[in-house]
Amino acid sequence: MFSFVAKRLLGAVPTLFVIITIAFFMIRLAPGGPFDSERAVPPEIQANLNKVYHLDQPLVGQYWLYLKSVLGGNFGPSFSYKDYSVTELIWNGFPVSMELGLTAVFLAVLIGGSLGTLAALRQNRPADYTIMTAAMTGITIPNFVMAPLLTLVLGVYLRLLPVGGWGNGHEIQYKILPIVALALPQIAYVSRLTRGSMIEVLRSNFIRTARAKGLSEWLTVTRHAARAAFLPVVSYLGPACAGIITGSVVIEQIFSIPGIGRYFIQGALNRDYTLVMGVVIFYGVLIILFNLIVDVLYGVLDPKLAHR
């Protein structure tokens, strides 16, 4: 297992290198620069700014400078948020995005998994239809519709919960709406996935054998079926985790949450080269890590798939 993890991590190095290189040159290809605005500055001042930020050097030179800087653990200063370094912005935003995302994933697994299992066990009965109808609704209503609806009803009309912001980071009332809005489609998706997988597993020979041996339905499901039925859910969760944590951009925008997702959009629009690069590298690392975790979990859930 150790060598498997070590190999995968080593294999990630060239991947990251490619990501950095492509992202670096792609963002530079976009027309417009970080200092362009409706108020055009005199060319001498533009030259000055370019010098301060090393943009006066050839692109390849800038690339080497950047690589060296990243290897030294420094993502450079942000062009748009001038009082912060990119590293600071990421480390400020990441805990918020992670808390938001992981809570949503946890809820998705817990609630979605339970509902999916229940629907599978009550297949083609009212409970199954109700859950699957709700799940389909959850999948089809996108975040950017659900979130405003929730804020309108619970925040604006009923004034039960704040409609935006993150408070001081410890007040739970600020977290409820964004987490629910982020988790709902995931709950729906996981429940559908679990149902399908569980139905298939429950029809398999080893379950029939377990039942034939007189094992109770509860033990059959929890001890034998669940492990196998959750495999597709786990493989879904890898990219989903990375996607939810890093990609809750819409939710972060709608609820004005100081997470990392907003920086990506803002960075790209502002041509904030260093910020975009920092976030891209960070996303890259996260996706690699989550995929690795999924592979390891696979081995735990199904020893036949364990990597040696």
């Binding site: 417009g32 409706e38 055009a40 005199p42 935003g93 935006g164 925008q253 004005s256 997470g259 803002q266």
Partner: protein, 537 residues
């Protein structure tokens, strides 16, 4: 940066359009004096010499105070300087600072602090995008362009701890208005020396304004609290101001309705009818010195050397319909380049301003024909704008007006903002394009200088030596009346040559809770939280 106007009849019109959030009554103050303001995008920096955004400046004007302030009527008023004198030749300005001024850490603030801050502004190493605002000062331009490496040769000096002297390159009629801009605010040398580029962090930032920084959580909020060392602290009612960066106007409106904000940064145009009906008295609209206009590319066909075509197109745009049906928040139809609202200046209007729409269209048809176009040979025109729902609606309307009146075939092209700016600057692919300008200071010069042949924002490629000469001469003319006269002459050239067509003049619009008093915006969009209080409610 950009902005707008007022004038005869305008004041009255605005009064009708504007529902001001007023609290009559002798005030009983609320127990909690905390103001929560929506502030648009996340501030780029709280370093006044580096920042460039309107949003940054709002916070900076609470944290720092300059030599002068621009008051609610748009007039220059004493700030850290209690008085000033100007030499007869208009070159030397001597400011007398208030006695016993202090920084928020209790250390004395002297004229040397202004010397340091202004020198820092023009120092190329600082990387200030706005150092050109300092160009009227002796040697500033050469220092900013690194032609002169001696920063100390900038025309500023501390005569004594309480006397700050500025020597200009040439007389500059608008100099006092100019230094009301946030880029002229002072910074604390000791804290910059100690903390370097981290000097703006809570705990490190030392300021001289009515408030000081307590908390800054990026993308979440900025909290400033009352500065007990401010010279006028006794009259500051608020104990705290919380700024929330909320870019989406609809989200901001929701937070306002949910009671989480006392003042919004903006108002979504598509919600104005709802707001007027459901939040009566809370919408405050004031003139904003800024112009929304369409630029003609004068370096390429079809507009190169084709004044008649430019006139024809400009005449058929029904500005009244645009402001009443699309923008809907009190914007004023524009027929001049400089918006009304600048004291002592009379904007120059296009001569057909008072014609009715049918009359304009009839005249435009003649001009269109004289320009070589007609039903058999219609103009095929590309209108370019940056991606935005509001711009799109306006562009569609303009295209329809041109099609209907003249039969022009318009293609709309939208580009992402930075791409659009680049395209515009190149002056190759553009024909007619959207643009906007908000004044840096309340003087016609901020508009006039933009259309000089060598100006950075002159994406129209307007080049009229007579105009350049008038604007340059006006800039160094001491006699205020003559100066204004020259700028008016210059604007006459603009409305004649039509390098652009003004569409409307901006307004500043915010929702303000009825219990918030003293939140007065001037035509530059400035407000000072030191004047605000929260009434019992």
């Amino acid at each position: 940066m950009f902005r707008t106007r007022a004038v005869l009849g305008f004041g009255m019109a605005m009064a009708l359009l504007t529902s001001t959030a007023t609290v009559a009554l002798a005030q009983t103050l609320a127990d909690s004096q905390v103001l929560r303001i929506g502030n648009g995008s996340e501030p780029q920096t709280l370093d006044p010499q580096i920042s460039e955004n309107v949003q940054d400046s709002h916070i900076e004007r609470d944290l720092y105070e300059g030599l002068v302030v621009i008051d609610k009527d748009g007039k220059v008023a004493p700030g850290q300087a209690e008085s000033w004198t100007v030499s007869p030749d208009g070159i030397t300005y001597t400011f007398k600072l208030r006695p016993n001024l202090k920084w928020s850490d209790g250390t004395p603030l002297t004229a040397e602090d202004f010397v340091y801050s202004w020198q820092r502004s023009v120092d190329p190493a600082t990387g200030s995008k706005y150092s050109f605002l300092f160009y009227p000062i002796k040697n500033a331009e050469d220092i900013a362009n690194a032609r002169n490496k001696d920063i100390k040769s900038l025309g500023v000096r501390a005569v004594d701890p309480q006397t700050f002297e500025v020597t200009l390159k040439a007389p500059t009629g608008y100099f006092l208005k100019l230094i009301g801009h946030a880029r002229f605010l002072p910074v604390n040398k000791a804290s910059i020396t100690k903390y370097g580029n981290q000097f703006t962090r809570p705990g490190n930032l030392v300021t001289n304004g009515a408030f000081m920084l307590k908390e800054w959580t990026p993308q979440s909020r900025i909290v400033v609290v009352k500065n007990p060392n401010y010279w006028d602290a006794a009259n500051v009612k608020l104990s705290e101001v919380d700024y929330y960066p909320i870019e989406n106007q609809n989200e901001e409106l929701k937070r306002y309705r949910a009671g989480e904000l006392d003042v919004t940064n903006e108002v979504p145009s598509d919600q104005v009818d709802f707001i007027r009906k459901d939040l009566p008295g809370e919408l405050k609209i004031v003139p904003y010195l800024g112009s929304y206009y369409m630029g003609f590319n004068l370096e390429q066909p079809p507009f190169k050397n084709n004044l008649k075509l430019r006139q024809a197109l400009s005449m058929v745009v029904d500005r009244e319909a645009i402001v009443s049906k699309i923008t809907k928040t009190g914007e004023q139809p524009a027929y001049s380049w400089v918006p009304p609202g600048i004291a002592g200046y009379q904007p120059q209007y296009v001569e057909w301003k008072d014609l009715s729409m049918p009359e304009r269209i009839a005249k435009a048809k003649e001009l269109y024909k004289e320009a070589g176009y007609g039903p058999d040979h219609p103009l095929n025109l590309e209108i370019m704008y940056n991606t935005s729902e509001n711009h799109k609606k306006i562009m569609i309307a303009i295209a329809a007006m041109m099609k209907q009146a003249l039969g022009v075939n318009v293609t709309l092209v939208n580009q992402e903002f930075k791409v659009f700016l680049e395209t515009r600057k190149e002056k190759k692919a553009t024909q007619l394009f959207r643009a906007g300008w908000i004044a840096d200071y309340s003087d016609p010069n901020t508009f006039a200088e933009l259309l000089q042949s060598d100006a950075g924002l002159n994406d129209m490629g307007y080049n009229n030596p007579e105009y350049d000469k008038l604007v340059k001469t006006a800039a160094i003319t001491v006699d205020p009346e003559k100066r204004v006269q020259m700028l008016e002459e210059a604007e006459k050239l603009i409305v004649h040559d039509l390098p652009m067509m003004p569409i409307y003049d901006y307004v500043n619009k915010r929702l303000i809770k009825p219990y918030v008093t003293g939140f007065d915006m001037n035509t530059l969009g400035y407000f000072y939280s030191k004047n605000v209080s929260i009434a019992k409610h």
